[in-house]
């Protein structure tokens, strides 16, 4: 008897798409965990100056006497260093918090700009078709036939150093992925009735592009966006490690790892290990969230 009541209740309850999306997403425990970790990382990145035990770039508190202390050590003044200190005596945990801020900042900023740029170009290609489409997609094909790191190195050697230049380089590396994704789904959407109806109403192309086509191309764009952001963070770290990325005044995780490199052979493993671990956790959790988003947003996989 109770069972029957239960089933009717389930059938009657109306779910909004957002509720269904959230429920679907939370079904996967690993992805949910990754989302929590990611939220913590973003929190740390935003509030780094408030929650860091010390300010690693405040010359008044950093002492060279504390240099290369192993994790867990306490210095003469009784200040504990949970993850140890680096070669200049900076608290590694605080450095990582500040580094996350820069790494995430650069990765997300460049990802967002590339998303907007790529989406606009991809939509244009799909909407106008013909010669415009051919030229744009040839360009995309040529760029994607070279690995991202190579394109980045070309751009860096032309642009030079600096945080703005790195962001420009990362945007130019990534736009093609977004353009291709948006063009693909926009081509499918374009042939649907609602676009035809909008065209018949003689709506301006800009309105059709951004109000009708774009919202329907968003799901794959969001998925590519998460994966690409992880790539951008990893690429920035790699470039900074190679010494051609961010300048020393913007110590991202890649730079922290590079700094620890010289101490590694003498056994001070923690200076490179912990920033790398932070980078790894960030990238893995973004990728796991992206994977789950792909599964949830893909209508073909819906039960």
């Amino acid at each position: 008897m109770t069972e029957i009541v239960d089933t009717t209740e389930v059938a009657v309850r109306v779910e909004t798409p957002l509720q269904r999306f959230v429920a679907d997403f939370l079904e996967n425990r690993i992805a949910t965990g990754a989302l929590v970790v990611l939220a913590i990382i973003i929190f740390i990145a935003i509030f780094a100056p408030l929650i860091s035990p010390t300010d690693p770039y405040d010359l008044a508190t950093v002492s060279i006497l504390d240099a290369r202390m192993p994790p867990g050590e306490v210095n003469l003044d009784g200040v504990p260093f949970l993850l140890g200190t680096d070669g200049a005596g900076r608290d590694l945990l605080s450095s990582i918090f500040y580094g996350l801020r820069i790494s995430l900042g650069v990765g997300v900023t460049s990802g967002m700009i590339a998303l907007c740029l790529g989406a606009a170009i991809g939509l244009t290609a799909a909407y106008y078709g013909g010669r415009v489409d051919t030229v744009i997609m040839r360009l995309v094909d040529i760029q994607l036939s070279f690995p991202a790191i190579l394109v980045a190195l070309v751009l860096i050697s032309a642009l030079g150093k600096g945080i703005d230049k790195i962001i420009i380089a990362l945007v130019l590396v990534q736009w093609a992925y977004y353009a291709r994704t948006v063009r693909g789904s926009a081509l499918v959407e374009r042939s649907k009735e609602y676009v035809e109806a909008a065209t018949c109403l003689a709506l301006p192309p800009r309105r059709i592009l951004f109000r009708h086509l774009l919202p329907n191309c968003l799901p794959p764009l969001i998925v590519v966006g998460t994966v690409q952001t992880a790539h951008a963070i990893s690429l920035e770290a790699t470039l900074s490690f190679l010494g051609v990325g961010l300048p020393i005044t913007e110590p991202s995780l890649g730079l922290l790892i590079a700094n620890g490199f010289e101490y590694m052979l003498s056994g001070a493993y923690w200076i490179s290990f912990f920033p790398g671990l932070a980078l790894l956790i960030t990238i893995v959790s973004i990728n796991l969230v992206g994977d789950q988003l792909r599964d949830v947003l893909n209508p073909r996989l819906q039960k």
Binding site: I142, S145, F146, P147, I149, L150, L153, V154, L155, I156, S157, A158, L159, G160, A230, S234, A237, T238, F241, L242, G243, V244, I257, G260, F261, M264, L265, G267, Y269, S272, F273, G276, L279, L280, I283, V284, N287
Partner: protein, 325 residues
């Protein structure tokens, strides 16, 4: 067939031309060439002489034309730091990089295919799930950090392998290779594995997907029904059909191995052309940077061209589709 090859060849020439233009404009317009060519302390006459010698007072299209003309004659300029032709320096370092990339490619095949096929045949075993989880990490791990950790564990803590350098080499046909000496092998193992990690993950995924698909095909069922041993079914019947996609993808990925060796060579101090590029970037040795980029573009275009042609030989559909476009 020959029409297809000619068309692809023309496309490649266009790509090289476009890239040379981009690199040239990048160096000469975005950056200040005078600033790159002479040290800031140089006297005024010296600066003017260089501007005249390099034709920097002439219009841009003429400068580009000069650059192309010299490049076609194999003259990509002289390195500021080494004072030698940039092309020669890069060609000297090329064998080390190619050797590293080839060994990494071998490792991707030797480790990747068996693990992937195993995970595909027994998808529900715990060990298979561990392999797949490992491959996810292979995609997510930052290559350079893994390299550092490998040095830390195997060179510093355990002391099994040397951390940097290339080790002893022997000459074969005038090329110095290190995989034939024991010392060379111990030096190449870590960097090659580091470079291969991403490709191993890729091969695992490809061959797992291939094996899972092949398992349910009629020819596999038929081979089983004939009473063939499991080993023969897997090693001959399934393997043959997995190899086609794996080999094509790996062919395409060879170029990216060479590009990524920039990172691995820096971590392991491997004396290849990637390390040369990073040094050149640090020293602002622009002729060397331009030369490296032009050569790597050429390598890429050649690889893509070969893979395309190979594809059309193996799969006639590609040819027909292209002609119809």
């Amino acid at each position: 067939m020959s029409a297809f090859i000619i068309r692809r060849l023309l496309q490649s020439v266009v790509v090289v031309a476009v890239m040379s233009l981009l690199v040239f404009v990048g160096v000469n317009v975005v950056g200040d060439p005078v600033h790159m060519l002479v040290s800031p302390e140089a006297p005024q006459e010296e600066i003017e002489r260089i501007i005249r010698d390099f034709g920097l007072d002439r219009p841009l299209y003429e400068q580009y034309w000069l650059f192309v003309k010299n490049a076609l004659q194999g003259d990509l300029g002289r390195s500021f730091v080494f004072g030698e032709p940039a092309l020669k320096l890069i060609v000297q370092r090329m064998p080390a990089t190619f050797e590293l990339a080839l060994v990494a490619l071998m490792m991707a095949i030797v480790f990747g295919i068996p693990l992937g096929v195993y995970a595909g045949i027994f998808p529900n075993r715990v060990s298979s799930k561990a392999i797949m989880a490992g491959s996810i990490f292979g995609f997510s791990l930052p290559t350079f950090w893994v390299g550092l950790m490998m040095i830390m564990v195997f060179a510093v803590m355990l002391g099994w392998l040397p951390s940097t350098g290339r080790g002893d080499t022997v000459a074969i046909l005038g090329l110095r290779v290190s995989f034939l000496t024991l010392d060379g092998l111990s030096h190449i193992f870590m960097p090659a594995l580091n470079l291969a990690l991403l490709k191993i993950s890729l091969v695992i995924r490809l061959s797992r997907a291939g094996a899972r698909e092949a398992m349910h095909q009629d020819y596999v069922k038929f081979a089983r029904a004939k009473g063939l041993s499991e080993a023969r079914v897997v090693l001959v019947h399934i393997m043959k059909n997995i190899l086609i996609p794996v080999v094509t993808v790996l062919g395409l990925e060879f170029g990216s191995l060479i590009a990524f060796s920039v990172v691995t060579e820096t971590v392991f101090a491997w004396p290849g052309m990637g390390k040369l590029l990073i040094e050149a970037l640090h020293n602002l040795d622009r002729p060397l940077i331009v030369a490296y980029l032009m050569i790597i573009v050429l390598v890429f275009v050649i690889i893509n061209l070969l893979v395309d042609i190979l594809y059309s030989v193996l799969d006639p559909r590609v040819r027909i589709q292209d002609a119809g476009r």
